[in-house]
């Protein structure tokens, strides 16, 4: 599995719908993007993920602090 946003493979399924079989949640431990299996393709498919919201390792490591 690949993160739709930063294309890291450090992703895992972290939750299952309380009503079994409806959806799963996944989370990326590099950019902390989280997504549900039932979301539109633009949220869950790396190739359909919008270019303006994609992240590189550099974007993540150089993000400014606020406090």
């Amino acid at each position: 599995m690949t993160c739709p946003r930063c294309r890291s493979t450090e992703v895992s399924t972290v939750a299952h719908s309380p009503v079994a079989g409806r959806w799963t949640m996944s989370s990326c431990s590099v950019c902390w993007y989280a997504w549900r299996s039932t979301e539109p393709a633009a949220a869950i498919d790396p190739d359909a993920y919008p270019a303006e919201f994609r992240l590189t390792i550099d974007d993540i490591s150089t993000a400014p602090r606020l406090v």
Partner: protein, 474 residues
């Protein structure tokens, strides 16, 4: 004493009775339905209802409330006023109730949210119907929770205990990111904890009565208690609080859900972006990290959320009069002539002030003071000053004043390279902007200019007729 509510459920019942609540029982998907509905209901305008969803895909008993504060009608009902109350009437009422501050909080031992407690295997994605609000958000968020922390250097100071609304990204089952900047009280608390080299206890109360949320979104002074302000805004009825067992922090008695945990010491992690109140995404930043250690909740809790995006949305109602009233008080302290302040356009990026004019040039004096109020320092990018005869909440009147009182040669004043809050997308660089004062007051001596000596005034009886018409159309 005006009507007030101890919890969200009580207020939703009141909204229902006033036909200001829509029950949505058709099946909805967390994405895109809930965020899409939040945007859509905001488009209905000043009488928009709150929404309560109870049939959410994948959950057996979850409920989501949206747009609870999201109209002037709901805002008035929160204050126990008729739902047709004008904005200025609500502004005046909030200002008068402020005078009761502080009202000591009422401490209780038991709370409805103590019904269920989870200590092991906490998974917020399964416990709560969290959802992505706007398509570009980095994940689901808690964006309307009351976040409670104390100053680590002065832990027993009740006034310095802060209750604020800060966005929290749900990154993992028990793992949150939280946004705050140094001027915020939370920002000061995290700096204080980092200096002492330890983490900071945090409580996150979700689904609260509307007045507490209003107080939590108000720019109070550092040592002023939001609970004591909530009591004032309830008309003097003490606000009920209960000590959260794991952290010892004081949280609302009436909350639907209370999370307790710890803000990590000196840890910063990528957070965002999130569609913000400016109508633009925030970008990503390295922000503090929270681990959740306890979840307390009522049975069948209501998960309250807020839509925000291009104005107007619910957040514009929630940050409107509670921003305007303190700025009015600060201006009036030095200039009693100031009649009213409207700092509700994108949290006060545009601020409109009405004032009596003491002498020529007085309008711009008042505007300059607005720029140096605690909120104005970060927000008042454009300040419009009008005469006291113009209602600053009535944009038709404000536009009239701009149309005929302003001579751009004299009345448009720009101050370059000023600080502002970093989320304004027009900042260049981010956090820096010019300020613009538009002085639309009538010129007075010694600044004599223009032909303003013959304004059209109505017959005095007009005021009586207006009262009659308002009563007849209520």
């Amino acid at each position: 004493m005006p009507q007030h509510y101890d919890d969200l459920r009580g207020f939703l019942d009141a909204l229902d009775a006033e036909k200001q609540l829509l029950h949505i029982d058709r099946p909805v998907k967390p994405e895109p339905d809930l965020g899409a509905a939040g945007r859509a209901v905001a488009n209905l305008g000043a009488t928009a209802p709150a929404l309560l969803f109870d049939n959410i895909d994948g959950f057996s008993d979850a409920r989501v409330a949206l747009n609870v504060h999201g109209s002037w009608a709901n805002h008035a009902l929160m204050l126990g006023m008729p739902k047709t109350s004008s904005i200025k009437e609500q502004f005046v009422e909030l200002g008068e109730r402020w005078l009761k501050f502080p009202v000591r909080a009422e401490r209780r031992e038991r709370a409805p949210w103590q019904e269920i407690t989870i200590e092991q295997d906490i998974n917020l994605f399964e416990l709560l119907p969290v959802f992505r609000l706007n398509p570009g958000d980095g994940g689901p968020y808690l964006d309307k929770a009351a976040v409670v922390t104390r100053d680590s250097a002065d832990r027993d100071n009740f006034g310095k205990q802060n209750v604020g609304i800060y966005r929290l990204q749900v990154k993992g089952p028990d793992h949150l990111g939280i946004q705050s900047a140094p001027p915020h009280d939370f920002g000061r608390h995290i700096v204080s904890a980092d200096q002492l080299h330890h983490g900071m206890p945090i409580a996150i109360a979700i689904g609260n009565d509307p007045i507490l949320t209003l107080a939590a979104g108000t720019p109070l002074e550092y040592d002023q208690s939001e609970y004591e302000m909530a009591g004032a805004w309830r008309g003097g009825a003490p606000y009920p609080i209960v000590r959260a067992p794991y952290t010892g922090l004081d949280v609302p008695w009436g909350s639907e859900i209370v999370l307790e945990g710890e803000v990590h010491y000196a840890d910063r992690e990528y957070e965002g972006p999130f569609g913000e109140f400016t109508g633009n995404y925030s970008g990503g930043r390295a922000l503090p990290v929270v681990t959740v250690k306890r979840v307390h909740m009522r049975r069948n809790p209501i998960f309250e959320h807020l839509y925000l995006g291009q104005s107007w949305t619910e957040i514009d109602y929630l940050l409107a009069l509670n921003t305007s009233v303190p700025m009015h008080r600060q201006l009036k302290a030095e200039f009693p002539e100031v009649e009213a302040v409207n700092a509700m356009y994108t949290h006060g990026l545009v601020t409109i002030i009405s004032t009596r004019v003491r002498h020529g040039g007085f309008g711009r004096v008042v505007a300059l003071r607005a720029l140096t109020t605690p909120h104005g320092i970060g927000y008042s990018k454009i300040v419009i000053v009008v005469d006291e005869t113009v209602d600053p909440f009535n944009l038709e009147q404000v536009m009239w004043a701009l149309s005929v009182k302003v001579n751009p040669e004299f009345d448009a004043i720009t101050i370059p390279r000023m600080y502002e809050m970093a989320l304004d997308p027009s900042g260049y660089p981010q956090g820096v902007t010019a300020r613009l004062i538009l002085d639309a007051t009538t010129p007075r001596s010694p600044d004599r200019r223009g032909e303003f000596s013959q304004p059209v005034t109505a017959y005095p009886e007009s005021a009586d007729w207006e009262k009659i018409f308002r009563e007849m159309t209520r």
